[in-house]
Amino acid sequence: MADTVQFDLVSPERRLASGPVTQVLIPGAEGDMVAMPDHAPVITSLRPGILRMDGPDGSDEYVVTGGFAEISADGITVLAERSLHRGDVTQAHYDEMLGEAREAYEKAQTVFENEPGPVDDAAKVLADMVAVGDHINLDPALGKD
């Protein structure tokens, strides 16, 4: 069994991380999952959360807001719509992301008045976003208008 697997984290604007890892914690839409070498091929969508990669040179964390991940025999690829290194996330970034989630939730409430599905989805995204704030010690309350 291989000890490491090729891991790529890419956003539309740039490649954020690339290299061998021993395991990656992926915030999947249906719950966190840890992908290790020789994982079965999976494609999963992401929820807002923390992505942690453990490599031979130590571990690293990124905040992702959504996207999807492909796990195959060739490696693990995470395509994040927006992603920042955990250390680079400032309160301003976080407020912006939280604001967007809140806006989407409010919009969903007005657009889909009688359909709980999309509203619940947006509410979940917002809740996930708040949880991210707790995790990286940024205050979700400050983002409120």
């Binding site: 740039r14 091929p41 969508s45």
Partner: protein
Amino acid sequence: MPSLKDLKTRIESVKSTRKITKAMQMVAAAKLRRAQDAAEMSRPYTEKFNAVMGKLAESVGDAENAPRLLAGTGSDQTHLLVVMTAERGLCGGFNGNIAKLAKVRADELKGQGKTVKILTVGKKGRDALRRDYGDLLIDHIDMTEVKHVGYNDAKAIAEDLLARFEDGQFDVATIFFSRFENVITQVPTAQQVVPASYERADDDAKAGGSTVYDYEPDEQAILADLLPRGVATQIFSALLENGASEQGARMSAMDNATRNAGEMIDKLTIQYNRTRQAVITNELIEIISGAEAL
């Protein structure tokens, strides 16, 4: 015959024009490098994305309940042409070529009796199409304020497009942009974004034993989540290609202009010298013939 003073003024004015075009060329060269870098940075994402979409489309695409973004509305009566051009001119045939391609397509579709609507991104495209197709323009997206194209700009355009699609305003959407090949060559390109057309995994991949993926939550849900992103991704890469093409076209256009200005200065300088010599000769003749008359 222009006077010496006229010639001198003209030479000065052409010289200052040359300075401007030279400066624009150098600015375009610097911006081109940045635009190319940006386009290159986005490539891994786009490639990977399209690969995954290809796989997904293959497994779901033929199903009866495939999402409308993939399978289409079942009609192709109303076409939306999204014409993406630059906000500024002075870049050779860049804007004109894109507009021309869109015009050809619009005429072709109209000839087939389809309804054509045009959405312009970038001022120059709107200006080029307004006269002949003014009644077809449904909206314009202004990019004047955008200095560096980001994914969010593309996403905003995509969301606008998708809202119109949901609204039933069109059946098929095609984006028009210029693909960057190199500084001299930019290819105006039309690409259909709605319904999405992804290349199915090619035969090589199939022969190599295509991997069977598990999907979380399930294929349908992922596809529904990814298709709108796919539109945004395609628009984003088109915007980046366009950005690089624009700077490339401007660079070569300004290079030509600088060279032309140089040639013109040479020609004018020769004319200036000849005229000066003629004036001197003339004066000498006058003096000599004056002296002889005495």
